[in-house]
């Protein structure tokens, strides 16, 4: 018999954890002498009450969907991919190379090419940690952390020494050709009478991320590979018994994970900055962890959590713009969400389990 009903596990616990995180965030805001209610209003106002606000919210959400999916696919195989950041950085490099060195006739083709480039580079960056974990038992958490740093150094080198146009100051590549410009929400939904999403970076990549959600859902719950990934994640010995190769699954799951993380760079590098800049990932790889935890590793949950974090990001930026609350508030909120939904999960779970068992005893 389960200790508690399924709905409690997938809805109640995350909700309570989220409320706890929100409560402590409010305390933090109070502690720095601001009003949490006002802050929340400002965030909602800036992120959700204007179409441009949504444009930013969904732009950030797109990143988080990709990295959240990346973390959750690996999680299904019991692999903690903390290297989304590095994989996304390399993904950006893939995008840049594809956009800069291949003459694209139209954006619809270039986005495909860039996606392949991003996925390939991201996957490649996940391959070594995956291989080392599978073959040599090197702990993937440590190796992926190390690979984040190595990626930063590598990207720095490539940008400064190779891709930076002569005489330019920024460590950034040249601007991509116009043919690679992705339609933004503004391009797609604005009309002369009703300007929408003005200047917001959300772009067609958002739909790509929705497709990724769907694909991951099918992959995990409808295909043999997904079945094997989940089986391996639950029990490695059983997987071996069933003829599922741990090496193969570890590598494949990490490749998919890395590819997804890399894909977020299509959004940032191609969709927004239209050139490769140094820090385009801005921690989205790590936020993927929070998103996956909150979304219970389910693509739909990831989608919801990503939008929530997109809201936090955009709202936080607005706060920084109009109040003296620094943008780091989001980092704190993010930390609290990870803490309560991830690390302190049992703090909420155990009392609830006891409650449900007691309830059941009484009813029995």
């Amino acid at each position: 018999m389960d200790k508690m009903p399924k709905w409690a596990d997938i809805v109640l616990i995350p909700l309570i954890s989220l409320l706890l995180a929100a409560f402590f965030s409010a305390l933090v805001i109070l502690a720095i002498g601001e009003n949490p209610i006002e802050a929340l209003n400002l965030m909602i106002d800036g992120a959700l009450m204007r179409s441009a606000g949504w444009g930013y919210t969904l732009y950030y959400a797109t990143n988080f969907i990709f990295t959240g999916l990346a973390v959750s696919v690996a999680f299904h195989a019991r692999l903690f991919n903390i290297g989304g950041e590095g994989q996304a950085m390399l993904g950006g490099l893939g995008v840049a190379l594809v956009c800069l060195y291949i003459p694209w006739p139209h954006w619809s083709l270039s986005i495909l090419g860039a996606s392949v480039g991003a996925a390939l580079f991201g996957a490649l960056w996940a391959l070594i940690p995956a291989y080392l974990q599978a073959k040599r038992g090197s702990h993937i958490v440590i190796t992926t952390i190390m690979f984040n740093f190595i990626a930063a150094a590598l990207l720095n080198y490539v940008l400064v020494e190779m891709l930076r146009p002569v005489g330019a100051m920024d460590p950034a590549s040249a601007k991509f050709p116009d043919a690679t410009h992705l339609p933004s929400f503004q391009d797609m939904f604005s009309t002369a009478e009703t300007p929408l999403f003005r200047g917001a970076p959300a772009n067609v990549t958002f739909f790509l991320s929705l497709a990724a959600c769907l694909l991951v859902w099918v992959l995990i719950w409808k295909t043999r590979l997904g079945y094997e990934i989940r089986a391996f994640g639950q029990s490695e010995t059983a997987a071996k018994y069933a003829g599922i190769s741990p090496v193969r699954i570890t590598v494949i799951a990490m490749l998919i994970s890395g590819a997804l993380a890399g894909m977020m760079s299509v959004n940032t590098t191609m969709g927004e900055s239209e050139r490769l800049i140094l820090n385009s990932t801005e921690g989205a790889g790590f936020i993927g962890i929070a998103v996956a935890l909150m979304g219970r590793n389910h693509p739909f949950g990831v989608l919801l959590a990503a939008v929530l974090f997109g809201f936090l990001y955009q709202g936080g930026a607005e706060l920084a713009l109009w109040t003296s609350i620094p943008r780091e508030l989001i980092v704190v909120i993010q930390a609290l969400v990870i803490l309560f939904t991830g690390a302190l999960d049992n703090m909420v779970r155990h009392p609830l389990e006891k409650l449900f068992i007691a309830l059941r005893r009484r009813n029995a």
Binding site: A52, Y56, N156, V160, V166, G167, A168, M169, D170, P171, A172, K175, R198, G199, P201, E272, S273, R275, I277, L278, N279, S280, E282, A317, E318, A320, L321, P326, R327, E328
Partner: protein, 306 residues
Amino acid sequence: EPALIFDLGGKFDKSFNEAAFSGATRWSEETGGSFREIELQSEAQREQALRRFAEAGANPIVMTGFAFGNVLSEVAPDYPDTKFAIIDMVVDAPNVRSVVFNEHEGSYLVGMMAAQASKSGTVGFIGGMDIPLIRKFACGYVQGVKAVNPDATVIQNMTGTTPAAWNDPVKGSELTKAQISQGADVVYAAAGGTGVGVLQTAADEGILSVGVDSNQNHLHSGKVLTSMMKRVDNAVYEAMTAGVDLETGFNVMGVANGGIDYAMDEHNAALVSADMKATVDAAKDQIASGELAVHDYMSDNSCPVE
């Protein structure tokens, strides 16, 4: 209402951004006006900050730092009624005023100063992020040093290749120690917030330092030889004073028009002898009159002296 956007180093970097801030403060004190400001924390905020200020009706919008160049050239056309001023970068748009400084001239002057103050004949240069702009500082400085003492050695280091290099005092401090151990007894820091560490360590270790952008002489009174002043404060002050009538186009600030200078005050009076000052002032006049041309690294991406 004007707005001021600080680059990643932050408002209190004791140098570049702080100079901009003091210009704005001077304006607001003199006029009683108020201005909007934001310190950027991330790359993605650049565009957002520009747009939100523009939409909120801020005018003119002043920003410090070359990194805004790309974004501004995209945003400016969307808000034709808003005036923008960008410092350290040229953006070609009808509603943008681009302010650039002849840092090489000022660096030349402090280079002369450093060479005269040095007993060991070895002086140092610590740059922030390794970009052409900072090489321009370095190149001017070396020219100044060699003008006084052709045999002098100049040790050059850059803090890094990423924007983090503007804000890494630990590394600034260690680089200074490294230069001291190589014999340098005057170091010039053109490194934003990193320079705080350079000046601190120079003071700790008993050598002289040269500040940058703002007048940094007071940071360690009696231990900072002088500062290469880049009157970002003036540029901001002027932009804010002009308000919506801000004259757009290209604006070069140099020794000739007082945009660039070296700092003398009570904190370094004891360090600079009348002789030294006279030599430097002579060069300053020559530069102002055009008699002496200091090579600008960015004109051809190379420096004639090492």
